[in-house]
Symmetry: C2
Subunit: 258 residues, 2 copies
């Protein structure tokens, strides 16, 4: 298992792997030929960036049995998704900023993120593993009062695409089977979500296959697998931590903004 990161150090943007807290810088292409440069960066000497720069984020709605049951919604026949703008992306420890002029509820949603490694189109479930580079944590931040403010048109893309509302990280874990682990979300240290990733309606391989029949997925694209029960709102100053065993903890603080 490797943990791939992007980071900034000495004014440069780099990528590489984590070993303990140390970053092993690489060169080339994270999704293609990547070679160690031999340079290492001690913990504390670099700042994490989002671990990839997705061209698009395909974000699922209603993909957990427990949440579907709580909402009284039937399980969907096909993965229902919206596109979350890539311009919303930030990495671990970067601040989530309240949109200018928006005074409503801001909600955290802890999710598993699938990071695509190779261009994929019309692939079968049994082939999907070859196209998945790895997994990361996602906080699919939402301006909840925007979502349903227009009674004729649910604004999924808009409510979730404000700058800084797409938190990804801290790293992309390769070689992980997310089926056996839980996702835990804490706000200021207190647990708010703790759900098994096994409870997905459409598991990662199925998602990649089905979505690749709808649109072409490209290296670095992220599928946010949807959230389960326990989402809630946060106030300025609150820190949200999303942890998945084998990946790590994505931590972001909501600040007044922008």
């Amino acid at each position: 298992m490797s943990h791939w990161i992007r980071f900034r150090t000495e004014g440069r943007e780099c990528f590489g792997t984590l070993r303990g807290g140390e970053a092993l810088e690489h060169e080339g292409d994270m999704f293609g030929e990547a070679r160690p440069t031999g340079r290492t960066h001690a913990a504390g000497s670099f700042a994490l960036l989002s671990p990839c720069v997705p061209g698009k984020i395909v974000a699922l709605w209603n993909n957990f049995h427990a949440l579907a049951s709580k909402l009284g919604k039937p399980v969907p026949a096909h993965p229902p998704f919206f596109i979350k703008s890539s311009s919303s992306v930030i990495g671990c420890d970067e601040p989530i900023r309240r949109p200018a002029g928006y005074t409503g509820k801001i909600v955290f949603e802890g999710e598993l993120g699938i990071v695509i490694g190779k261009t994929c189109r019309h692939i079968g479930v049994s082939e999907a593993a070859r196209f998945i580079f790895g997994y990361t944590c996602v906080n699919d931040v939402t301006a909840m009062d925007v979502l349903f403010e227009n009674p004729d048109f649910a604004q999924w893309s808009r409510a979730k695409s404000f700058d800084t509302f797409g938190c990804l990280g801290p790293a992309i874990a390769t070689g992980l089977d997310p089926g056996g682990v839980n996702l835990v979300t804490r706000v200021d240290g207190s647990e708010r979500q703790n759900y098994p990733l096994m409870d997905m309606v459409f598991a990662p391989h199925e998602l990649v296959s089905r979505i690749s029949h709808d649109l072409t997925l490209l290296p670095g694209d992220v599928i946010a697998c949807g959230t389960s029960i326990g989402v809630g709102s946060i106030k300025e100053g609150a820190t949200v931590e999303i942890s998945i065993d084998g990946i790590g903890t994505l931590r972001n603080k909501l600040v007044a903004g922008p």
Copy 2:
């Protein structure tokens, strides 16, 4: 007024301007420093590509008074949009392909597209012109039976993001005031839409300003301004032409696919 295009010739992807039917190749950055190379390509010796490669397409719903009135919907207080995947983009004369396994209605929607020229965030209406590179024609193709197939979740992003469903072109016209012209859509030569762009609820400068407060717009991003009355479905073999005076005609044929 210039007409910027991207095109393929002799196995290379190039960009430049149109003069008559001839392409004047440029080098550098279409949105930055672009210089003529001195090479010209005669009409018929190159194939058009989409005139830009958007990172995102921000697509409007309910942005024309005539259509709002026909649908009996109130005019929105803020531009309601969804994100259409950039992987859906094709250029003029490229085929629209029916998605695999989808046998339902495919609908054309003729729209004005705003092409962003500079990174913009939190800009005022009076500044918007500086951030607009130019205008193009958009066919916001839609798999209509997907849109409302899930009664709990309108699938705007999915129904409109199938590969080849984002037709852009033929060119990006700079120095155009789209307020005074009509958009005309023809299917196999017969007129289906003919509406004044002046009828927009939120005109281009207002759209760029408002949307730039929601998310950061980047060079090459496209805002599809929404359609008006006259949209309809097409069958395999039908050719859709979307014309705006001063821009040109975007032409795409629906074929069995993918």
